[in-house]
């Protein structure tokens, strides 16, 4: 059996369109010092560092090198350091990387950092379009928005979902973000406001799409022995994994459903011994870059049957007061520093388990789920956190 690992410290930065008030290393330093302070640890306590950032969205190459000294002085101290990138899943992939650093038995306390300055890029979607095959699919403007719009159109056709349903997802997330001081978009929104918004790619309106943000996030992972000494409120990793879907968008057997995510959920739930996710999970942080995805994710993750995600939403099951609150932080829809977004999902889930989510804390959280997608929805990462050591 693998070693037990817990998240023992979380550090978030305020996110905005462009954090002009700080340099890139200062932004990273902000997240790292917050995580160290949260865990009451010092730089010397960190055994290894796992770093993630999607360079092409930063407009520079290998920014982790520039930021290495902001990560507990890793460079000056010649510490073990690895950079992982997997698109939007980068934040999830670095958390997994940190997890395996500790489960391997080589390290006890590992710092996981993810950062992004999309504000330094002219247009993130132009960058993202370069991930699509140049001959067969790039010409049609392939990227995140196009895939999200296809998902929405297919879900409308298959299950009768409407623009109003999407607006309800936006309203819920925007309302939650108002309680999250680190969230990028902080404004009150009504369904009527949403339906008047500019159309981006039918049926997705501006309010259905996430922003692009500058921001960073850091978490500290520790082995069982160390975790108990570091904090009274560790968030134990109960199950985790990644799945890789087909490269060609046209080769994927979904749009209204998310088969790869269902397969991954099945694997991770088996590991975490979760039989009934709606009953067993107390809060979920899902990667809802587009409103429709929160609905499809609820279905693929087994919170309800396929096609019933909208019903779950309308009944308020996924609201702050519901049976399974989804995205109390406001989700990706309100904050999206691309390479860091996935780690923010995991950090927010950890805060909920630790009872440190302040104004957006869900009551009595024992088990939390974090989900991340990336690579034009080619990759998914899941992590299940628990108050109790499994």
């Amino acid at each position: 059996m693998a070693r037990r690992v817990a998240i023992v410290g979380v550090g978030l930065t305020k996110c905005s369109s462009h954090r002009r008030d700080v340099t890139y290393p200062e932004l990273v330093h902000e997240a790292v010092t917050a995580a160290l302070a949260d865990a009451n640890l010092k730089a010397k306590d960190i055994d290894a560092i796992v770093y993630g950032a999607m360079d092409p969205f930063d407009g520079v190459f290998a920014p982790e090198r520039w930021n290495v000294d902001a990560c507990v002085g890793a460079g000056a101290l010649n510490k073990p350091f690895i950079k992982l990138t997997t698109g939007g899943t980068t934040g999830g992939s670095v958390a997994l990387g940190g997890y395996y650093h500790v489960t391997s038995g080589l390290f006890d306390v590992v710092l996981v950092v993810a950062s992004q300055r999309v504000g330094e890029t002219l247009e993130a979607q132009l960058v993202l379009n370069t991930c699509i095959d140049p001959i067969y699919e790039r010409w049609m403007g392939g990227g995140a928005i196009m895939v999200g719009a296809n998902q929405a159109a297919s879900h409308f056709r298959s299950y009768g979902t409407t623009e109003e349903d999407l607006a309800m997802v936006a309203v819920k997330n925007y309302a939650s973000a108002l309680n999250n001081p680190y969230a990028h978009l902080q404004r009150h929104l009504t369904v009527e406001d949403c339906l008047k918004m500019r159309m981006i790619s039918w049926p997705l309106r501006l309010s259905d799409c996430c922003p692009s943000s500058d921001g960073a996030c850091a978490i500290i992972l520790a082995s069982e022995k160390r975790a108990r000494k570091i904090t009274k409120t560790p968030a134990w990793i109960r199950g985790a994994g990644q799945i890789t879907d087909n490269y060609y968008i046209g080769d994927r057997p979904w749009f209204q459903d998310w088969e790869a995510l269902s397969i991954l959920a099945h694997r991770v739930y088996s590991e975490a011994k979760i039989d009934n996710p709606l009953e067993d999970i107390d809060v979920a942080e899902l990667y809802n870059a587009f409103t429709i995805q929160e609905i499809i994710e609820s279905e693929a993750l087994g919170f309800c049957e396929p096609g019933k995600g909208t019903e779950l939403l309308r009944k308020g099951v996924t609201s702050m007061e519901g049976k399974l609150p989804v995205n109390p932080s406001g989700g990706t829809l309100c904050t999206n520093p691309i390479g860091a977004t996935g780690l923010i999902r995991i950090a927010e889930a950890a805060l909920q388990v630790m009872g440190k989510a302040d104004k957006h804390q869900v009551a009595n959280v024992k088990t939390a789920l974090a989900h991340v997608w990336g690579a034009a929805v080619g990759f998914h990462v899941l992590m299940i956190l628990d108050k109790q050591n499994p």
């Binding site: 999607m54 010649n78 080589l106 990644q242």
Partner: protein
């Protein structure tokens, strides 16, 4: 205690100047296919795949969307080290050591679709380093210069490294450059960035490399000739160029110390049978000797003068010809590990070191050159 992990499959393409119509991930595909064949495994046997390389060099964002599929990742747990391939080996090792995976494939590639000089320049500080036209190679030249002057090393001594490695490359059927050169050739080649001349610098090669790693339980079912990873260490260095003694490589010292400690090695020069080092330039191989503890500070050139690191010497270094013969810009370190593993299996044919049982593989992951390089050292043992 980490679980024991072994290399059970090795795959390389022929490395060359160009592969014509190949898209970069086809190099990963060919190498992975060969590694699977080598281990008599199929894609279905893999639990996880780890790709490597840099998006900025590959010319696309999320380059692992393609590489992970090309190396067998469909519906599997994949990841991607935005580093030299040696760090994919590190990550694959960690995943298996954890007990959560049994079989991993790690891969890397090199290609010539990007202008490495131009792309690596944008890793550097825009105010001071970029206007000085610094890039990967120029930072390496600055290191070589600092090393030369601190320890009184001559250009001729560095040139001897080139002569040695190019002579070794002749016997490596995968090597990109497979012709010998003389001391005069090296010293007479055009200056690229003082003190580096053209032949002091590695070529840019196109090719792929893949290794399959397995947990102890699985190893016995796969092969009679496993290569065990006895020790592994890696470390990064400070980005601040101005405050460093460029004549030293402290991240390599730290990486080696970790790997040696894990493998129980105290006197590397005596205990190791061979080493495959990722020499950024000819001068760096001498610096590597010192950082790896083969020689005392400033004494690396003595080893080359004595012939100690030649084939048949006390500790042959780079029997494959090293990076000076084959240099996949984002996987040269992983090629070093593949070559060291071939030696320990006794499968290195014309470049075989007799009776090799303990080897060192070194990889350098340095997108910003000597600013914040990562060095990795793995100690491999014949099973």
């Amino acid at each position: 205690m980490p679980r024991r992990v072994a290399i059970v499959g090795i795959g390389q393409t022929k490395h060359e100047e160009s592969k014509g119509h190949y898209v970069y991930y086809e190099n990963d595909f060919e190498a992975s296919k060969r590694a699977l064949e080598d281990a008599s495994l199929t894609r279905g046997d893999l639990d996880t795949v780890i790709a490597s390389g840099w998006d900025a060099i590959d010319g696309r964002t999320i380059s692992d969307m393609h590489t992970c599929m090309a190396i067998g990742g469909y519906l599997k747990d994949s990841s991607h080290a935005a580093e030299d391939g040696i760090m994919a080996l590190v990550y694959g090792y960690l995943r298996i050591a954890s007990g959560l995976f049994d079989i991993a494939l790690v891969a890397g590639h090199g290609h010539r679709e990007a202008a490495i000089d131009a792309v690596t320049r944008i890793t550097l500080d825009p105010l001071f380093a970029r206007p000085a036209q610094r890039n990967y190679l120029i930072t390496m030249a600055m290191q070589a210069n600092a090393y030369m002057h601190k320890y009184g090393v001559s250009e001729e001594q560095a040139a001897k490294v080139v002569v040695k490695n190019r002579a070794n490359g002749v016997h490596n059927p995968y090597a990109h450059l497979d012709s010998p050169v003389t001391l005069e050739d090296v010293l007479g080649s055009a200056v690229v960035a003082y003190p580096l001349k053209a032949l002091d610098c590695p070529p840019e090669s196109v090719g792929g490399v893949a290794l399959i790693l397995a947990s102890e339980d699985m190893v016995r079912r796969i092969t009679d000739k496993p290569v065990w990873i006895r020790g592994i260490g890696w470390a990064i260095e400070s980005y601040e160029f101005g405050g460093k003694d460029l004549a030293e490589i402290p991240s390599l010292v730290a990486a080696a110390q970790r790997a040696y400690q894990m493998a129980g090695i105290k006197r590397p020069l005596n205990e190791l049978d061979l080493a495959e080092v990722h020499e950024a330039t000819s001068f760096h191989e001498l610096m590597d000797y010192e950082a790896l503890g083969f020689a005392k500070a400033g004494q690396g050139a003595k080893l080359i003068d004595q012939g100690a690191t030649e084939m048949g010497g006390k500790l042959p270094v780079n029997p494959s010809g090293g990076s000076l013969c084959t240099n996949l810009f984002s996987a040269s370190g992983l090629v070093r590990a593949a070559e060291a593993a071939l030696q320990l299996r006794g499968d290195a044919h014309g470049r075989q070191v007799a009776d090799a049982s303990l080897a060192l593989a070194h990889g350098l992951s340095a997108p910003a050159g000597a600013a914040a390089p990562t060095n990795c050292v793995a100690i491999l043992e014949r099973g």
